[in-house]
């Protein structure tokens, strides 16, 4: 740092100090409060990725919505996927407020997604070829999401915290919805059980990847600053262990396996020792090179482009009446 500080720099420093003191006292930041650019940028990255993941996350299950096997399941999965779109809507509104001072809008978020600049969660790049996947997504993917999102309930950014409170409440219903599909298959015919086992096996590496690479003591600068800003409070590995502790016993109890022959619980260390998924593959997947990335992005982009005339019409009508 330069020893001869400009007056404005001092002011920025003082602002920064006051900002950090404020979040250290456990106070929350509102959209209109002063915040460091770095904090704003971290939030934009996190919340737009979360919002877009909700929306892209609707797509694998959407594949099963029209095919859900009973009238009750049809109603339940329609409601579930609708909720996910609703989560996307809530979060994009939070992101919109953060990007507004930068002169950006939701249109920019969508264009970033289409251009591959905005990433979405690894799980939503994967295939969901059977009805059991609809169950496993609800049970385990939503279950994993509850764990990461619960960590952020106490985030220093108040609008995000408020959105998360609502989202987490709904995610619990989603996990129940998924569990109910899974239990029905688990208690069902041989064919149904096999369908479920194949789905668990298929989703296992993606579920491990969901929480991000383990830190092995080396916390990235991103993670460190997000912890400093109280945007997050736990590491990837801590979150993954919570997930494993919660769900592995349930999977085994139902008589199913995961594709990891050496997995075991280390009592002394109080953690699951598991085989690492291919983290190089993870990087490729979130870059948009997963098995369904292109298909889902195409679906999203195409429907967006083909309904442009509708958004234009709404704008035009708004100008006329308004």
């Amino acid at each position: 740092m330069n020893t001869q500080l400009e007056h404005s720099d001092l002011t920025e420093d003082a602002k920064m100090e006051a900002f950090l003191a404020k979040i250290d006292r456990g106070e929350k930041i509102e959209a209109d409060d002063w915040m460091p650019d770095d904090y704003r940028n971290q939030l934009i990255k996190l919340i737009s990725m979360h919002g877009i993941s909700e929306i892209m996350g609707a797509l694998p299950e959407k594949e099963w919505v029209p095919k859900a096997p009973t009238l009750r399941r049809k109603l339940a999965i329609m409601a579930k996927v609708q909720d996910e779109m609703g989560h996307g809507q809530l979060l994009l509104r939070v992101a919109e407020d953060l990007i507004a001072p930068l002169g950006k809008t939701r249109e920019d978020i969508m264009q970033d997604l289409f251009a591959g600049r905005l990433k979405f969660h690894n799980v939503f790049h994967m295939e969901a070829p059977t009805w059991a996947d609809a169950g496993v997504i609800g049970w385990l993917v939503d279950g994993a999401a509850i764990i990461t999102q619960s960590m952020s309930l106490d985030t220093s950014y108040a609008p995000y915290a408020r959105a998360l409170h609502r989202i987490c409440a709904e995610e619990k219903f989603h996990a129940q919805h998924g569990e109910s599909i899974v239990l029905e298959l688990a208690e069902g015919t041989e064919e149904q059980r096999q369908m479920l086992q194949e789905s668990i096996t298929r989703w296992w590496p993606s579920l491990l990847m969901f929480f991000g690479p383990p830190e092995n003591g080396n916390i990235t600068s991103n993670q460190a600053s997000n912890m400093r800003y109280k945007i997050r409070s736990q590491t990837n590995e801590e979150l993954r262990q919570i997930f494993l502790k919660k769900y592995l016993p349930r999977i085994f109890h139902l008589g199913f396996t995961v594709p990891d022959e050496t997995i075991y619980f280390d009592e002394a260390e109080d953690k699951w020792i598991y085989q690492q998924p291919d983290w190089e593959e993870f990087k490729q997947i979130v870059k948009g090179k997963g098995p369904r990335s292109a298909h889902r992005l195409h679906l999203r982009e195409m429907s967006y482009e083909e309904t442009k005339w509708v958004r234009d019409a709404i704008l035009s009508y708004g100008r006329q009446v308004g």
Binding site: V65, M85, G188, T189, L299, E306, W309, V310, A313, Y317
Partner: protein, 277 residues
């Protein structure tokens, strides 16, 4: 019409075979209309023009699907079959929905290159919805008490849907020339099928004779009058008498679109209908 009996329960209805037949015929029309259009709505999930509308559209499709479930459960109560089987195991020729609701949303599959037409979605939902309102209001006076009861419940929800469609119609009709042209094309397309909505099927005389619902001509007249007023308020020219497809859905004649829809919506259930899902 002579003195009409009021039937309070399924058990009571079952004492009269002809009455039961008329009731079952009507219930299949009501159930299948809502079921198939709700299915079409569910195909739109994730594809609506903006996220807010995606949520709203899905919520309305769920209400409609919920109504279909209530009708299928009434059929189950009358011993016609299990609600899930009725919805998913019947052949197309057993379906009694109007052709309008089975038409695909546009070219392509819901998951593969769907070229869906939002103007058609709006006009179909609204025109169908206006007819459904007239039908539900008539059912408030039905001789079958369980129908009057659920119709009252459905109407409350349904009025919100109509308000939603009305806003869309007004917006699209009075915005860009492109939107206006698409809307008019959609109206023409919907209108060429819409006349069948008030068709009560081959057993119409018995259905109205037992006082289950008012006569086709009455339903049609009220529906057209109300629809005309709404079109006028939105500055849309009145398309005149609605037409009907060459297939008569109410008599079990259907298009390839329905056959495909049924194959999709029953795909998982048909793996093993005896299993629990």
């Amino acid at each position: 019409m002579g003195e009409l009996l009021q039937v309070e329960t399924a058990q009571e209805a079952l004492k009269n075979q002809e009455y039961t037949q008329a009731l079952v015929d009507l219930l299949f029309q009501l159930a299948d209309d809502d079921f198939i259009l709700a299915y079409r709505g569910s195909e739109w999930l994730g594809l609506a023009p903006h996220i807010e509308e995606d949520v709203a559209f899905s919520s309305m499709a769920q209400d409609m699907m919920g109504h279909a479930v209530m009708y299928y459960e009434m059929l189950e109560e009358l011993g016609v079959g299990k609600a899930d089987d009725l919805a998913q195991l019947r052949e197309a020729s057993a379906f009694r929905n109007a052709i309008l609701v089975e038409r695909q949303n546009g070219a392509g599959g819901y998951n593969d290159d769907p070229h869906y037409d939002w103007a058609y979605a709006i006009v179909r939902s609204y025109v169908y919805g206006l007819h459904k309102k007239v039908r539900l209001e008539s059912l408030l006076k039905s001789s079958y008490s369980p129908l009057t009861l659920i119709s009252r419940k459905m109407l409350t929800e349904h009025r919100y849907h109509l308000m939603h469609w009305q806003v869309w119609l007004k917006q699209l009709a009075n915005s860009t020339p492109d939107a206006r042209a698409r809307l008019e094309a959609a109206i023409a397309k919907v209108w060429s099928d819409a006349g069948e909505l008030s068709d009560l099927g081959p057993n119409a005389a018995s259905i109205t004779g037992f006082g289950l619902i008012e006569a086709e001509a009455t339903l049609r007249e009220v529906w057209l009058k109300e629809t005309q007023a709404i079109f006028e308020a939105a500055n849309l020219s009145w398309p005149g008498e609605p037409g009907a497809a060459k297939e008569r859905g109410r008599a079990g004649e259907h298009t390839a679109d329905l056959i495909q829809a049924l194959a999709t919506l029953s795909e998982v259930y048909r793996i093993d209908p005896a299993a629990s899902w």
